[in-house]
């Protein structure tokens, strides 16, 4: 058979590797700054742009989509070409993909610090960026499938299945969760509200973990681990089961983020069942990875890249044991809203994604530059300092989570709550300090790696032209009579993609359709009314400042929560919440019933300096809210958008919205005046107070009516 000569595209791989390192350092640094603000809020320098509520989304987006995202593309572009014996389909598409993704990252960074956010976790980017992401993702898929079609190896290795599933599922998740109607260029409202929004959001959020942080990295594990260890994967059969079971089960598990919330009980139960089943494929994959090294553990001693990979796979095993455990309702009751979850995700992020990326970089860069790593010793130091960093990060956070939760639930013998919420915050400070030390160590390791790799690049020469040869695939495949149906999938990328899509779509549909279509799933409450224009504007300020990163608006039906916050939250309360703001972490107290609890002046003073009202509070100061004028230019457009989404404002309401807004603002300024605070009615603080004072009020009215 005639051999065809071709060249691999190493340049794009190199570019993605550089971007991975750069954004990794940025993302981790922003994370560290956010971590320090947890005990030194003034580190924000009193600027809105650097305040926790804005840089926390910046950190998560940078680490997930910039660091891990570029890491995925680096791994895919390298392994795909070699597994398929073909150059990437189009150099132009590779270029558009690379630069398009970097532009998205820069736009994301700028808009997030400016407070342009949808307020949906891990999907904070506004609609123009959402569209750009979709386009660049299509370019990635086009390039990948083009390469697959031009391949010289008939069978698709399991790593490629994981890449295809990643492509198709992320596309589905991103599009479904980003359906929103624009109000202006940088502002939109999601079409879903309340419970429905929560369900879609956590279906997305959970599967962003599954199909962005896990499946592509598993594909990379199946390629790079055997490659670096120079022995084939332990069991190919197990990898087939691993693949199908993982993608089938993962997609259902989203509601485990919403246990004991107002989501219908059956949806919660479905989430729990599938989450528990998930341990089987997850551990199957981990065991498959680790057993690949059986009889070759001596190589781990001498190969620093393998060391990183072994810890990565082990961290994957720990995180995927913990995940199903956290999905049990009784465990979730303790862990949810606490720092336990922060510990859990960082075992995954630092251990699995971080160490896998570092390991691959230590192997790949010397290979691309035809040289040896500059310093093995430095790399080994990175390994130990990084491992230590993970431990010093995770252990205090587990401890803190446990302590927080038990303090929240503590009652005195007389039946009173034992601790003020503030006590549970100040007790956390030593743990927050320890966590930032762990993070510093991890970042230091990454900086050492960067230095080591730059030195390696300097001494080597880049392998721009890497040639290989393979026979072309002959036109028609001669299938033998005994050929198996599954081989039909293995050979055909499009079939594989379609079947993967069907498999992942089923879970979403079964959970969404009833919640969207059956009225009894979201019982309405007569006293729950739409927000006034001023409250709506205040709500958008709440979203802009990222208040949801520290405050929940979801009271679970526990005695410890109803005693602290009031009546537990009902599905019908959130029908006008586009987007929902339930939050996922309680660094500060729940706000679902904050309305009417304190006078307006309390909020005014509290936003100016939280410690004046709550000594020892770690909430940042928001002086700009007191000075900045409320931008009422889009209020009318906002009301119109809400009406289109089904919020029952009366006809023509948008025309009188400004008058209504001024009227309500005047009432609040008069209230403030009585307490000796002079402020103009058009300041942002007035709108925010209006919103905060509204929270939970409707349901209180309902209770009063019932009592009468």
């Amino acid at each position: 058979m005639e051999l065809q000569k071709f060249q691999y595209d190493n340049k794009t791989v190199k570019m993605f590797a550089y971007a991975t390192i750069l954004w990794g350092l940025v993302g981790m640094l922003v994370g560290l700054i956010a971590a320090i603000q947890m005990y030194l809020p003034s580190v924000n320098l009193s600027l809105p742009y650097t305040t926790f509520g804005r840089i926390r989304p910046l950190h998560t987006n940078a680490v997930i989509f910039a660091f891990v995202g570029n890491g995925i593309f680096m791994g895919v572009y390298y392994s795909l070409q070699r597994l398929l014996k073909a150059r990437m389909f189009s150099d132009l598409l590779s270029k558009i993909h690379f630069w398009g993704w970097q532009i998205i990252i820069v736009l994301a960074a700028v808009t997030l610090v400016l407070g342009k956010t949808t307020g949906k976790e891990y999907a904070e980017l506004e609609w123009p960026i959402d569209i750009l992401i979709t386009l660049v993702w299509v370019v990635f898929g086009w390039n990948m499938f083009g390469t697959i079609i031009r391949r010289r190896e008939r069978h698709l290795y399991v790593a490629i299945w994981f890449y295809i599933a990643t492509f198709v599922t992320v596309a589905m998740l991103h599009i479904v969760n980003s359906i929103e109607i624009p109000v202006s260029f940088w502002k939109s409202y999601p079409v879903y509200a309340g419970v429905q929004d929560a369900l879609v959001q956590w279906w997305y959020g959970h599967n962003a973990v599954a199909f962005f942080l896990t499946t592509p990295y598993l594909g990379m594990m199946y390629y790079f681990l055997p490659k670096i260890a120079q022995r084939p994967v332990y069991s190919y059969r197990l990898s087939i089961i691993h693949f199908w079971a993982l993608i089938f089960l993962y997609i259902w598990a989203g509601p485990h983020h919403l246990l004991y919330t107002s989501v219908p009980d059956w949806a919660q139960s479905l989430g729990v069942v599938f989450s528990i089943m998930l341990i089987a494929p997850s551990w199957g994959g981990m065991i498959n990875g680790l057993l690949t090294l059986r009889g070759a553990w001596d190589r781990v001693r001498d190969n620093v890249a393998l060391k990183f990979l072994v810890v990565a796979v082990t961290a994957y095993g720990m995180a995927t044991f913990e995940g199903p455990m956290l999905s049990l309702k009784s465990v979730s009751a303790i862990a949810h809203y606490t720092d336990w979850i922060v510990a859990h995700v960082h075992v995954g992020a630092l251990g699995w994604n971080g160490f896998m990326t570092f390991g691959i970089l230590y192997w790949l860069i010397p290979r691309l530059f035809q040289t040896k790593l500059y310093s093995e010793r430095l790399a080994n130091m990175h390994f130990w300092i990084g491992t230590l960093g993970i431990v010093i990060y995770a252990v205090p956070m587990y401890w803190a989570g446990f302590m927080q939760s038990s303090m929240w639930k503590d009652f005195t013998p007389e039946g009173q709550l034992k601790w003020q919420f503030l006590d549970t915050v100040t007790k956390m400070i030593p743990f927050y300090i320890a966590r930032s030390i762990g993070g510093t160590l991890f970042l230091t390791g990454a900086i050492m790696m960067t230095y080591n790799l730059i030195k390696t690049i300097k001494i080597g020469t880049f392998l721009e032209i890497e040639e290989d040869e393979a026979p072309a695939l002959t036109g028609e495949y001669q299938s033998h009579s005994k050929d198996h149906w599954h081989r039909w999938i293995e050979r055909k990328p499009i079939q594989l993609m379609i079947i993967s899509l069907v498999v992942v779509a089923i879970g979403g549909l079964v959970e969404f359709v009833p919640v969207f279509l059956v009225k009894s799933n979201i019982p309405t409450i007569a006293s729950v009314k739409p927000y006034t224009p001023l409250e709506l504007e205040g709500r958008d300020i709440y979203i802009r400042e990222g208040c949801y990163t520290c405050h929940s608006q979801m009271i679970r039906p526990f005695r410890s929560e109803t005693a602290r916050y009031g009546e537990y939250s009902k599905a019908g309360e959130f029908v006008y919440d586009h987007p929902f703001q339930w939050g996922s972490k309680r660094t500060g107290p729940d706000l679902a019933r904050i309305g009417g609890k304190y006078p307006d002046s309390w909020h005014y003073n509290h936003m100016l300096d939280p410690t004046s009202m709550a000594p020892g509070s770690i909430m940042p100061q928001y002086p700009w809210l007191l000075e900045d004028q409320l931008d009422g230019n889009s209020t009318m457009a906002k009301i119109k958008a809400m009406k289109r989404l089904g919020v029952p404002y009366p006809d023509g309401f948008e025309k009188i919205a400004m008058q209504e807004m001024e009227k309500q603002a005047k009432e609040i300024t008069e209230n403030l005046k009585k307490d000796g605070i002079e402020t103009l009615a058009d300041r942002e603080i007035v709108a925010l107070i209006a919103y905060l004072q509204r929270l939970g009020k409707d349901i209180k009215a309902e209770v009063l009516k019932a009592e009468k």
């Binding site: 429905q196 084939p232 359709v513 009833p514 059956v518």
Partner: protein, 55 residues
């Protein structure tokens, strides 16, 4: 654009989870069967794909 409750109720909603359960179990039975009965040489060939490179 209104995404709130098009229907008051769906008849036979119970069939949803049942269908998905059947699809799920059926598919797994097939994959498992393939894993058990599949050709050993074929798996061996696939398993070695990442290592079939000249460097």
């Amino acid at each position: 654009m209104k995404f709130i409750n098009y229907l008051e109720s769906i008849s036979g909603i119970g069939i949803y989870p049942l269908i998905s359960l059947i699809v799920f179990v059926g598919f797994f039975a097939l994959v498992t069967l393939y894993i058990i009965k599949g050709n050993k040489n074929h798996f061996e060939k696939l398993r070695n794909l990442p290592l079939n490179e000249k460097n």
